[in-house]
């Protein structure tokens, strides 16, 4: 006979995504979610009090007539298992965090509850791509690459046009494409490598530095500009440094005024929970929503462990690409035109 609390606890197993606001440490979010889940679990009615045999002085029945008090046993509720003496039923709910976001950034943060924490590990190891929106501002350079810290230099930016920016971005992407192929750890002279490259499935396995698989400018309004980035194995500081490097390439300087993660693997921002929805029932709904995704990640993780590396990597990438869906198509569009552009530009550069 399970209690309501036990049934509720069993439903708290899986992954879900949360939208992290800017300026908040990720640990605070994890603690808030854990305490909300615990609050809901401990508010369930406690089990009935246990009865204990106690010997009491009770008047003997009407048989004797006299008012003799005799020792008689009776079952009375024992206070030893009262919730005020025993404490709350649940002390801890395992809530784990996926790829972390630092306090300056905002965006999708994947959390795992209970048994979902094992799947989180698979997600991190499977080198999924992540989508970011970076906001930059020309004219300043700071020591931390963000717009709030100490300014080191100020420059003009009148000479910067959208065309120049696009060229710089293409150059950066070219270098990254090369890195993508290098770190894929495949012998490039084989037919298999060619076929994978044609499909766009050449991908870094194992350790790799941060690599951008896609980069484009979505908004240009000097001094402000916005970039959309798809990357693998990155940190938010690397992305802020990227903005700084873009500024340097344009013979100016730039600071990053916002890093926003819109997608982390198969978890998108549309289904991420905002602050008002960090309650137990919304979280359980979100876990149910992401159940299929969680299962796919777990299965791909199992494949990786059992099969050989090469076969499994191809399978994983296919699976993840199919999960991503629409963004996958964008990704393909991004790579093909820029690839052509690189071929054109390398010639004048070297020549």
């Amino acid at each position: 006979m399970t209690t309501k609390a036990a049934r509720l606890f069993r439903r708290m197993d899986g992954l879900f995504a949360v939208y992290k606001p800017q300026g908040v440490h990720w640990k605070l979010i994890r603690d808030t979610i854990e305490s909300n889940l615990l609050k809901e679990l401990n508010s369930c009615p406690p089990p009935a009090p246990q009865l204990a045999v106690k010997f009491q002085l009770l008047s003997s029945g009407e048989n004797n007539g006299s008012k003799d008090l005799i020792l008689s046993p009776s079952m009375l509720p024992s206070l030893a298992n009262h919730p005020l003496v025993k404490g709350p039923q649940f002390h801890k709910v395992h809530v784990g965090v996926g790829h972390r976001l630092d306090a300056f950034s905002s965006g999708v943060l994947v959390l795992g509850v209970g048994k979902g924490n094992y799947v989180l590990e698979h997600l991190c190891k499977s080198h999924v791509t992540r989508d970011y929106t970076l906001e930059g501002e020309f004219g300043r350079a700071t020591d931390d690459f963000s717009h709030t810290t100490r300014v080191i230099e100020k420059t003009t930016y009148d000479h910067v046009t959208q065309d120049k920016l696009e060229r710089v971005l293409a150059m950066i992407q070219g270098a990254n494409q090369k890195a993508l192929i290098t770190y894929s750890q495949m012998d490039l002279r084989t037919q298999e490598a060619y076929e994978l490259a044609v499909k766009g499935l050449l991908y870094p396995h194992g350790k790799s530095p941060p690599i951008l698989t896609g980069l484009r400018c979505i908004h240009f309004n000097p001094p402000h500009f916005t970039l959309e980035v798809q990357c693998v194995n990155e940190t938010q500081k690397y992305l802020r440094k990227l903005i700084h490097e873009v500024g340097l390439e344009l013979r100016s300087s730039a600071v990053c005024s916002g890093v926003r993660r819109t997608r982390d693997g198969p978890f998108k921002a549309e289904n991420a929970l905002t602050r008002q929805h960090w309650t137990a029932d919304c979280i359980i709904q979100a876990i149910a929503h992401f159940r299929k995704t969680t299962r796919k990640i777990r299965k791909s993780g199992m494949y990786r462990q059992t099969d050989g590396q090469l076969n499994s990597s191809a399978k994983i990438q296919e699976q993840i690409r199919s999960e991503i869906g629409q963004s996958d198509q964008e990704h393909v569009e991004l790579t093909s035109p820029t690839f052509d552009r690189i071929v054109d530009r390398v010639a004048p550069g070297t020549g």
């Binding site: 300026g23 002085l57 008090l69 005020l84 404490g87 008002q276």
Partner: protein, 413 residues
């Protein structure tokens, strides 16, 4: 065998009434321990074993044995009141035990002969066998003592969270040693006379169990001091429920604090009383952070004296708020939202709100083009409406948008 018969007779001579009370036997043995030289035979082994138990574990309740006479005295007193026939058997017992003493000292302990456990005895004798309660001398939790101790069971029935209290060092031991009728009941009656609601007693004792160890004279002196300062009976009761540690502070300390607030804030006595009644925590905490907060308001924010007075009387929590968070909110409201000092002083609730809430709502209004905080111009949005309204009302009335739009906007920040 002689002694053996005496033990049995000892048991038989006591009527069934006293035999029924298991804890009372514990006391009886203890009492005899106090009064007489040597205890009866069958308790001797138990006493030895108790003495050889080495206290281990975090909470050392080794005083428990010494204190238990007080705890269990109550039970025996109750029993005496319940069954009038008790008085006689106790005296009988003493007589028997005294006679026992002489025989024991004559024969020496080696000649002790105990009945064999396999010996068959009659039903009546079986019922009269007293088993001393197996209370551990020390334990990590209060669980083993709750059922036996009257104090603890009454506290649980009042709603005191014993689990929370036993996490604090030494509080558990203190609670076990308390005597309900001598210590706890007078304080509870005192609080009830003061006007504190019975439902709040549990939370007050959970937050401040040391109100039970404070002497009643001190408590009464402090309450009378507050009354001389013209705090009404109801306001004193409200203050005690909100700040349970209030009555543990000495009269000098309370006087010092009240004087500080009146002098520093420059408020009239009536207004000071109002502020202190709404936030009695001011009297319990140290004054340094409050002084710092006042300095911050004056120097960093640039509020004038009368503005600070108005802010403190409307939202006293500003005095004990976190300095860094207060500065963050003020910086955003004054510099980013361009709200002047006078308007912030008029709506000080905004300084008490969550920073993220203000930020998201302001950015949403700015995005919609409705961020208008000047009262002179049309479509004015007052700061308290910005902060105080719940999300759905804010979206429909102030922002004139749907809740989904607001959530979608939140995901673009």
């Amino acid at each position: 065998m002689q002694l053996c018969r005496r033990c049995v007779s000892l048991l038989l001579s006591r009527p069934l009434l006293s035999a029924a009370l298991q804890p009372s036997t514990h006391t009886l043995h203890q009492r005899s321990h106090h009064i007489l030289l040597q205890p009866p035979v069958h308790s001797l082994t138990q006493r030895h074993s108790r003495e050889t138990w080495t206290p281990c574990g975090r909470r050392n309740l080794s005083d428990h044995q010494a204190a238990s006479p007080d705890v269990y005295n109550n039970k025996t007193d109750l029993a005496e009141r319940e069954a009038e026939k008790h008085i006689v058997p106790f005296e009988n017992l003493n007589v028997h035990q005294i006679s026992n003493q002489e025989s024991l000292s004559d024969m020496g302990l080696d000649a002790v002969v105990r009945p064999s456990p396999l010996q068959e005895i009659s039903e009546e004798e079986a019922v009269q066998i007293q088993v001393p309660s197996a209370l551990p001398p020390d334990s990590f939790t209060l669980k083993p003592y709750v059922d036996q101790s009257e104090t603890l069971s009454k506290l649980v029935q009042l709603g005191v969270n014993l689990w929370e209290l036993e996490q604090r060092p030494n509080v558990g031991s203190m609670l076990v040693r308390l005597d309900f009728h001598a210590d706890v009941a007078p304080k509870l009656l005192f609080l009830k006379d003061l006007g504190v609601e019975e439902s709040k007693l549990g939370t007050i004792l959970t937050k401040n169990p040391f109100i039970l160890t404070e002497s009643l004279d001190n408590l009464e002196a402090r309450v009378s001091y507050l009354k001389t300062k013209k705090f009404s009976q109801e306001s004193v009761a409200v203050m005690v429920s909100k700040a349970p540690y209030l009555l543990n502070f000495s009269v000098e300390r309370l006087d010092n604090r009240l004087g500080f607030f009146q002098k520093q804030l420059g408020l009239s006595a009536e207004k000071t009383r109002n502020v202190v009644t709404r936030l009695p925590k001011l009297l319990c905490r140290s004054l340094e952070p409050i002084k710092e907060n006042l300095k911050v308001c004056e120097l960093e924010f640039g509020f004038r004296g009368n503005e600070i007075q108005h802010i403190v009387t409307t939202v006293p929590k500003v005095l004990i708020a976190n300095k860094r968070k207060l500065t963050q909110i003020f910086d955003f409201v004054h510099n980013t939202m361009d709200v002047p000092h006078s308007l912030i002083a008029k709506f000080p609730q905004v300084l008490n709100a969550k920073f993220l809430r203000i930020k998201e709502r302001h950015l949403f209004l700015e995005y919609l083009g409705r961020a208008q905080y000047q009262p002179s111009q049309p479509n004015y949005i007052s700061l308290d409406r910005l902060v105080f309204l719940p999300d759905d009302v804010f979206c429909s009335d102030v922002a004139l948008a749907t809740l989904e739009d607001f959530e979608r906007f939140q995901k673009t920040l």
